[in-house]
Amino acid sequence: MQHLDDGTIHAWLDGALGTGEAAAVEAHVAACRACADRVAEARGLIAASSRILTALDDVPAHVVPVERPAAVAAARAAAPPLAAVPAPAAAAPPARWGHRYGRLAAAVAFVVAGTLVIARDANRRDVASRREMPRAANEQRLQRDSTPAPSNTPAAAQGVAPHAAPAPLAALGGAAPRTEPAPAVKPHVKSFAQAERQQATAAKQSAAGADTRVLGQAEQAADTSFRTTTAPASSTLAGRRVGEGKALRLDALVVTAQSTSATNPTTSPRLLSVDSVERGGISVRRQTYVIEGGTRVVLEVMPAGAAPNDSAAPVPAPVPAAAPADSAAAADSSSAAIHVIRWRGADGTRYTLSGPVSIDELQRVRAALGVK
């Protein structure tokens, strides 16, 4: 057999060859040192290219898909079927701007956008006033607050004031050597140097609290801590987008409707990212949501058939391992404000929701997500 060409090697490694051809390649690789070396190189290229492409996912954005089957189904039931919507002429370009339904959506959302902007402005004033408030006042607030964050650390002292920034932000604010308060009018603008310094601080904190962290990955915890400092950005930008007349998407409309619903006072969590993680050899779907205040919570979903038995918990964290269905557990309220709730769906699917918020808030998020 001739030496293998690169295409065949990659196709073999990708599992794209038929059984016979794959067997022939395998036999050749076993016998040919040169081709075995090229296979090894190809493996390296595949792994390296995947890693490089993963870096492309670091794209900042504020409009993210919200995967809410129940809400989508409800909206679909209420709205005319897509087939009934008059389709643009075949030659017409896709209507991303100026489509009349887009304008209608923009009109509906404009009201909500205004609400968001107003709310945000109010929030800014709140933040500004809090920043000017002496720390002692914050600590007084802390004493009135029942948030289970530690009260003997600077992080907690700044972090758990009523309607305050999420805990990770507080952790940053408390630990970072900030010499002056950030300007309230532009709290989100940071230089790279600032960003890196803050993340380093967050990472340090994560390492210090590694034994109590629920999320399990230092990088994720640091990232969460850091990113939440820009919490109000999304609502503002969303508002701007709507104001610019950009066509609003169906799922965004669904969120809008739910967030203003009287029956659902919690701001609808926005799906930020979805990926898969390995939990004890089992692939678990991980969905990261941004909730009110910019805090991130993580929902891990283990399909019903994935867990071989009840002892296989999807989160390999210092949480009670064999948590019963529909249980709530604080990871370690004495030193970390990250909490976890777990439950099992009617179909046996296991859910784990965790984040730097209280159990009650997690339950509200769970309800808002519509995950039974």
Partner: protein, 172 residues
């Protein structure tokens, strides 16, 4: 679960990621994905959903790029002019931002066909799906991917070298 929901659940995540990686613009990626699904729902029957979805998305990107080149340039200008009013996007760490920039440059250095094949493969498309979406023969996909991966890694490493050199110099 109806067809629309199943289609969305199955392909939305991978399609948005593919488009984001390809375009470097998640908002644009979302729009293209949305339009792709709208079109998919108008279809009575799709023989190969996965290939169809990616083919349509590719076509939409191509059409968008042609039509919106000027519009986007103008919007970018406007955005710069109003930068003071705009909330900055979530900042990445310096290292991650640099990695992302290098990866973007390395990916952009690939030939269009190689880039698309590689990005689709990363989303788990089979060689058959990729061949159908790119109108290539199945037999050529292995070669295409091998070339794309090698060039991507070489480009990336080449781009990283000056950075390493400057870092080392600064350290010394």
């Amino acid at each position: 679960m109806d067809d629309a929901e199943r289609l969305f659940r199955t392909y939305h995540g991978m399609l948005v990621r593919y488009l984001t990686r390809r375009l470097g613009d998640r908002d644009w990626a979302e729009e293209v994905a949305q339009e792709t699904f709208v079109r998919a729902l108008r279809q009575d029957h799709l023989t190969n959903e996965r290939a169809w979805v990616f083919t349509v998305a590719n076509n939409l990107v191509r059409d968008d790029a042609r039509r919106d080149a000027r519009r986007r340039a103008r919007l970018a200008l406007l955005r710069e002019e109003t930068q003071d009013d705009v909330v900055e996007p979530e900042p990445l760490s310096l290292e991650r931002a640099q990695d992302a920039a290098l990866a973007r440059r390395a990916v952009n250095a690939l030939a269009e066909r190689d880039r698309l094949a590689l990005l689709m493969r990363e989303e788990g498309l089979s060689y058959e799906d990729i061949a159908e979406a790119l109108h290539l023969s199945v037999g050529s996909i292995g070669t295409t991917l091998a070339r794309a991966r090698r060039r991507l890694v070489e480009q990336y490493e080449a781009l990283r070298e000056p950075r390493r050199g400057s870092t080392g110099h600064a350290a010394s």
